[in-house]
């Protein structure tokens, strides 16, 4: 799995439809970018000037809002979000190694997304389940007591045993 280099093309026509629905409403920006994200999975930087122009805002202003909210993404995200815990408890029990293994297995660095948009790898400060450390989450599912074998199992690729 190689990491994603260029963000995928988006359907500009669809984008314009969404933008036009919201245009010239006051305070349209946040609902608008949320809808863009719902449609495309992220908010590509190249749509920012289009949105800005329509709402009579500066591109830097729109970017400011988008970059402020953690729930708004400017890069495409995988269908599966993998978060490896790097909190203190996990750290002392080998969390670092787990992260290294996951990275190797997915061929991704932190905050990268795979080319087939299958995975996005992130880290998190503490999942709040330190008793299970080292831990990680895939989407909403928590995996505790992680070890190299489990990592391999979880990300088994097709054709691999």
């Amino acid at each position: 799995m190689a990491k994603l280099k260029a963000p995928p093309e988006i359907d500009l026509e669809r984008l314009n439809e969404i933008v036009n629905e919201h245009a010239l409403k006051r305070w349209a920006l946040i609902p608008l970018v949320q809808e863009v994200q719902a449609e495309f999975g992220f908010i590509p930087p190249r749509v920012v000037p289009i949105i800005a122009n329509k709402l009579h805002l500066f591109p830097s202003e729109v970017q400011g809002v988008v970059s402020f909210y953690e729930q708004l993404y400017t890069e495409p995200r995988g269908r599966n979000i993998v978060r490896v815990c790097r909190g203190t408890a996990c750290h002392v029990r080998g969390g670092k190694t787990i992260l290294k293994l996951v990275k190797r297995q997915l061929e991704l660095e932190e905050n990268e997304t795979s080319e087939d948009l299958e995975y996005t790898l992130e880290t998190v400060a503490c999942l709040g389940v330190c008793a299970l450390s080292p831990t990680m989450v895939i989407n909403n599912q928590v995996y505790g007591h992680m070890n190299p074998k489990k990592v391999k199992e979880l990300f088994k690729r097709e054709g691999e045993s």
Binding site: P59, E61, Q63, G64, S67
Partner: protein
Amino acid sequence: MQPVTITINQKVVSGHAGMSILEIARESGIDIPTICHDPNLQPVGACRLCLVENEETGALVASCVTAVSPGMVINTNSQRVLEHRKNIVKLLLASHPDACLICDKGNRCILQQIATDLGLGFNDLDKISQPAVVKELNPFIARDASKCVMCGKCVRACQEIVVEGAIDYYRRGFAARPATFNDAPLEQSECTFCGLCVSLCPTGALIEKIKPYQGTTGHSIQTTCSFCGCGCPITMEVKDNRVVRALPGKVDSSSPGALCIRGSYGYDYIHSKERLTEPLLKENGVFKAVSWDEALKTAGAGLKRAKEQHGPDVLAVYGSSRCTNEENYLIQKFARTVLGTNNVDNGSNFYNLATRAGLGNATGLLSTTNLLEALEQADLILVVGADPPMTAPRLGYSIKRAVKYRQAKLILVEPRRTKLAFFSHQWLRPRPGSDLALLNSMAWTVIKENLFNPEYINRQTEGFLGFSEALDGCSPESTVEITGVPPDEIRHAAHTYAGENKAVIVFGSGLISAVNGTESIKALANLALLTDNVWGSGCGIYPIQKENNAQGACEMGALPEYLPGYQPISSPEIRSKFERLWKEKVPLKPGIPVVEAFSRGRETPFKALYVIGENLTSLTRPSLNTDAISALDFMIAQDLFMTKTAACADVIFPAASFAEKEGSYTNFEGKIGWLQQAFPPVGESLPDWEIILRLAREMGAPLPYSSLQQVVNEIEEFVPLYEGYDRPAERLEDKWSYWDERRSRAFQSLSGFPCFSIPESGSQPGEKPKDYPYYLILEANLAYFGSGTRSGQAWRLKSHYPPEILKISAADAEKLSLADGDEVNIISLHAQVKAPVEVTDIVPPGTLSLPASFPNATELFKTGFDQESKAPSPEACYVKLERVKADGQVKSAPRNRS
């Protein structure tokens, strides 16, 4: 406003409701340290440094964002306040690099000052490292985010004052910092390098990147920008006879101070190595340096000789819209009383003739009909043929502020996609040169659909009937052929313009120096008069003046047909009044506008010319002017640089720059800006006024002044509207009553009531010659100014000239199979030049544009002159393109790809 009294540090102080604690404290002379506060920016309460203690509740509040309430008891430096304040500064310092010794902000750093005031030395908190410098290529601004304290002044300045929106906060929490879109270097953003953020940044996070002169400011002076007609006040910091930096100067509270790239970084030309420093005399085609005595003697003799041989009317003096009021006053008096001719003119007249001829009937002779602050109160702004963000940036800021923050509507009439297109509510994109037809259709709609007040028209205007009859046949439907604008759009614009209470009109060179310029200005005046939008507050007509003293030079009478104060030379009473005042004869025969005389090429009626600070060859077509110059017997040039014009002269006088002399400028609104001398003139150069006085003395007809002050006194006494002009503070305080005076003066110059002008029938932008399918326009830009005499010597500006590229629409490029970078020959009926192309949506199909800084671009154009008003009437410039093949061969580009 409700008065409020509170107690601060045991002292009873008062103000009014709505003030913040900080404002009341500062007004009463109590200082509270602040970092993020600025009186011209929206308060954000970001730094918390301005904490004060409410002694009744014990609460610590940020004084800049806390409104006063009656009876409050405040302590600004209680033990608790000091404790907290110290902690805040310590925290700021903990994430700040220890680079104060080598930081360019030096002792101007607010953070450093406050830390010192609080007695903070070494910091016991651990250092937190921060992101560092962004790599920038521009020569103006360097950014170092590690020194940023997130006060947000830069972001607010950029959004609220200059309204460029180049930067905003980016990311959040600890990673937050001001950034451009895509975190790109400034040169790839909307940034116009106005320099405002740098001047407001409290720390070294934003600094001037390459300073032509290093050093701590010795002293600072208040002066006025020498570039455009906005005439911005500048605070100039000086050391060792060098400018250290230029900052926005002190203005009245109604408009926040801000400069543009030219005001902030354009002063480099003062210190250019190319400055003329000695008088020069041409001998056998070569200049040699001579003494002032010798230069003056030769100059005086040359003028006298021509006068003796051919009479005074072959002499002409060409004054300058870059010289001060006092200098222009002397220039016209020199021409009239020393030389005995009314052949005196100034560089801006070329431009102002059309404006006067266009607006004269409706508004009188004073150009703008309102102050800039009135524009910001407008409900609607109609911009026609003007690009204020480029040509008059401060006016541009006002327009953008009105639109973005006061909900004014903007109608833009402009073929090119200029910066204002982004701000506009309606953007009409007529074919270039068809503004006249479009404006007449708007007026037609206003009349036919009864969008005006007949009572006002009947009582306070003249000429309505003739006007409305002449508009017959100007319906939006019948002009669509000419303008290419759908009738509904014109109708909509007419309704919007007539429907808003307070509407202003801004126009500029895109209209004035285009085909049918004068007629289009008349059409604008008609439209404003029809809807009663000429004089009221929030109403008005604003012609943009190109040069900083264009207004003043004309008001001082450096004009062939007017004495000072637009008093006509043709009037015997006026002439005898001036003869009485001056105790000299005033010549009878009106003079000839210099540009018109020069456009006759070798047929010019002039034999000897004294040109002061103007580059004649750059006006209209350079080659014609060169012909006219070569037909002269004798020529004196007075300039800062060896311009193409100066190079033709027999004698050259080196002149001082604006930083090296005193005097005043009148900006496009009629406001006076004063110069203060920063250091003595370079080399042997002298202020223009002094050179004129010396030349008059040399010619045996000394003008009766021994100091500049005496000239000022005479202007105060003799020139209407300039009474008390050397007491700018008083005039500022009382600007509205001064404005009333100006306005009644304008009324006096009308022959009766404001009058409609009858539109001419021909509103076509001229015949399109066969095989010349494209309309060429020149595009103004920020860094290049006038004819480039000064901006070309200001190295930072020059490095920022736009690329020498021809802009072409995608549709036209496709027809000609042209791609970005392909070279073409641009051929008009008069000349041809070569340029690479850029495919863009800035120009519509059928239109091409070159930057005004493009060498020899003006050769492609031709300007005629109106027989009656002598106003220039430029012809449309149609061109064809020929592709230049890689091997240098020329091949006619096919007009159709099929």
